[in-house]
Symmetry: C2
Subunit: 427 residues, 2 copies
């Protein structure tokens, strides 16, 4: 596709999305839920043919020499499809928040004023590899009464096209416009540049992928971007802490999975419990092959015990690092104030936890740590739309604006003001 | 001030604002309210000396040949100062929403999850002429626990400096950092360019002024902007409408004041009531010297009656126009659908009203008109933070993102997720 054709294609998708968004905003709860249930049915009914489309992507990926873990992420196994189908059904079963009016209050002038929850309009989503994201995004878009334009990774284009065809069928079956969910049909990179600079057609961009991709998109976009940058998450072990609980939670926060953005990357330990706590958690990390990058004080402590540990010396850059790997930075701090100062300075404002028995410390940590999720006595791994009860998640925002932390249906809506009067005039 | 000095000055303001914002986020409700009450006291105590500072601005403005209505806007009369003082006291009396935790719910994993309202951090405000905006912005910033950097118009620089000095005194008296509210000390235009491109220090920009200024700032800013673009507001007179009510409300919406953004600029009338309604409202407009720019059908009706009216022919461009003047565009429509289509196409998504007795029409209008404020049987002039019960208003947003419509304290906050556990781990 040449540049002119890409521009024309994106323009057409934009016009169609904007039109479809009006119909979706008007659509009944029943119709949107019917589309979701129909989509679940179609995913199950087409499990076999979808394998064939998916196989073409897998073949191409292997031929291009993609590493097997990356090929794995592309797979639309029957299990993955069943999870997608269940996700659609769960969304259908959730209450509809579109049209809710909150806070309707009588004003001295006589008018009643409240706020109605309405769809944002059109969102553009840019994502890589996993084709099941196509279904997650489409289903959240349908439930929230939006239209969307989806730009998946080129490596999953055959799978995405097949899934998008089922979404169109499901929309049509429910009497909704098929253009409410559109897949960008070309893998041309110029399409992304177009998608993020059409404010007349697209209200918000949601990118999912590496930090570099998201920074690039944010810099070039002409519409708001729900950014999900890095997760440099901290767990702080406070002075008055249940150490059994701390070992269990820190272990889980770091080692349950290394790749998620909500895994703990940095451990801060109050000096008062360091002697009792650090060797215990170091033993866990050592047994699991987690590299420990320590500040001078914690390194000295861990190297000097009855059973010395092999740890490396942390560099200044380590405090900023999102490892996404079996590596953790460790620092001893004087107490709560130094811990919070460190987190607010080096952290990425994603998710941070305090482990403590001290009520005042817990309250101060919740209030003063400037992160999208702040936790007391829980694993940072809980920062997730499903775990938070949102039903589904379109992304995790590290922005403070509009949506913060895990973003579900509500993050795809806005509140408009509603004024009900009986002929009042302003004096 | 040369370019280097401007850059250094803005950098310093940024560093100080970021530091102050942490202290403000931690500050007690009592301290923030004390600062507001102290500011009210200082404004009253300094009414006389403030006149002297203000007089220098007025003198300069007159010497520069500024029109008297513009000079008027600069005046810090005792009445204006008393209104500012009362505004501060009203804010102090309002409940504190910072630290509120909403929706705390038990999850299946055992954790409890909710959302805490916290300050945004640092906002930058760019505004023109009226120096009382300095106090409005400062007081909203203090109440909401933010820090702010204020950039007022050069024509009010002496008044703004004197007011900012009182704000610093009030902050100090309450034990809060004086750098929580900083005025840009230079009138150099380069300072604006710096202010809107310091994402490390400034979280959001709120511009108040003409559409051109706001579009320029939005295009160049490297941080989110709460935009207040134009208000091309509509009132639609529906078929089943109380015509006495309609005459009263449309008259108020257009003529109570011509300059506000929430004044009605376009009148849509259902064909079924046009014959009965249009001559009545035209008589009102004619008596007040309001120019009527009509589509062919309404023009024909108004020119052909027993007492023909003098109306002009609307051009296509009139439907987009925000006149802010004694001019109104008038169009006859088939009914609700055509009215909504027209509003969503030509309007600026600010404020639009339907006047009707029909419940279904009212509901559809509220749901389907894509504007920040949608009204039934009320004057569009009500779209205002005070009239909506927000206590104060930092601006009116025509964005859908973050804040929509009148923006009060809540618009200067974000919600972060709070997780309370007892040692839960993710499985």
């Amino acid at each position: 596709m040449n540049a002119l054709n890409v521009a024309e294609t994106m323009q057409l998708l934009g016009v169609q999305a904007r039109q479809a968004s009006s119909a979706m905003a008007r659509a009944s709860t029943a119709a949107r839920n019917q589309a979701l249930r129909e989509l679940a049915r179609l995913l199950r009914a087409h499990t076999d043919p979808l394998q064939i489309d998916n196989a073409r992507d897998l073949e191409r990926a292997r031929a291009a020499g993609l590493a097997e873990p990356m090929v794995d992420r592309l797979k639309l196994t029957p299990k993955v499809l069943e999870t997608c189908a269940q996700g659609c059904e769960q969304l259908a079963a959730m209450p509809d928040i579109i049209g809710d009016i909150v806070g309707l209050k009588q004003q001295p002038s006589g008018i009643r004023v409240g706020q109605m929850r309405v769809p944002i309009g059109v969102f553009g989503m840019i994502y890589e590899s996993r084709p099941n994201v196509t279904i997650e995004a489409a289903s959240l878009s349908i439930k929230s009464g939006n239209a969307c334009i989806l730009r998946g990774g080129s490596e999953a284009i055959d799978s995405n096209k097949a899934l998008a065809a089922l979404v169109r069928q499901a929309l049509a079956a429910a009497g909704l416009p098929q253009e409410a969910v559109q897949l960008v049909p070309t893998t041309d990179r110029a399409a992304v540049g177009q998608l993020i600079t059409m404010p007349q057609y697209v209200d918000v961009i949601i990118p999912r992928g590496g930090k570099g991709l998201i920074e690039r998109i944010s810099a070039e976009a002409k519409v708001p971007v729900i950014k999900h940058l890095d997760g440099n998450c901290h767990t702080y072990v406070d002075d008055s802490c249940d150490l059994d609980l701390a070992v269990k939670v820190v272990d889980n926060a770091k080692t349950q999975k290394y790749s998620p953005c909500n895994a703990t990357e940095s451990l801060l330990v109050a000096r008062g419990v360091a002697q009792a706590f650090l060797p215990r958690i170091a033993a866990v990390f050592a047994s699991k092959g987690v590299e420990m990058r320590c500040d001078a004080e914690s390194a000295a402590l861990l190297r000097s015990g009855a059973t010395p540990f092999s740890v490396s010396d942390a560099q200044e850059s380590d405090w900023y690092e999102e490892y996404l790997a079996p590596v953790i930075s460790i620092k001893m701090v004087a107490g709560l104030d130094e811990a919070m100062e460190h987190i607010n300075r080096y952290g990425s404002h994603h998710t941070d936890a305090i482990l403590t028995r001290d009520h005042v410390h817990a309250q101060r940590f919740l209030r003063e740590v400037d992160s999208a999720s702040v936790m007391v006595n829980a694993s940072t791994r809980f920062a997730d739309g499903f775990e938070y009860g949102l039903g589904a998640e379109i992304g995790i925002s590290t922005d403070k604006f509009h949506a913060r932390g895990p973003v579900g249906i509500e993050g795809l809506t806005s509140l408009k003001w509603v004024v009900l009067g009986e002929g009042e005039i302003r004096s």
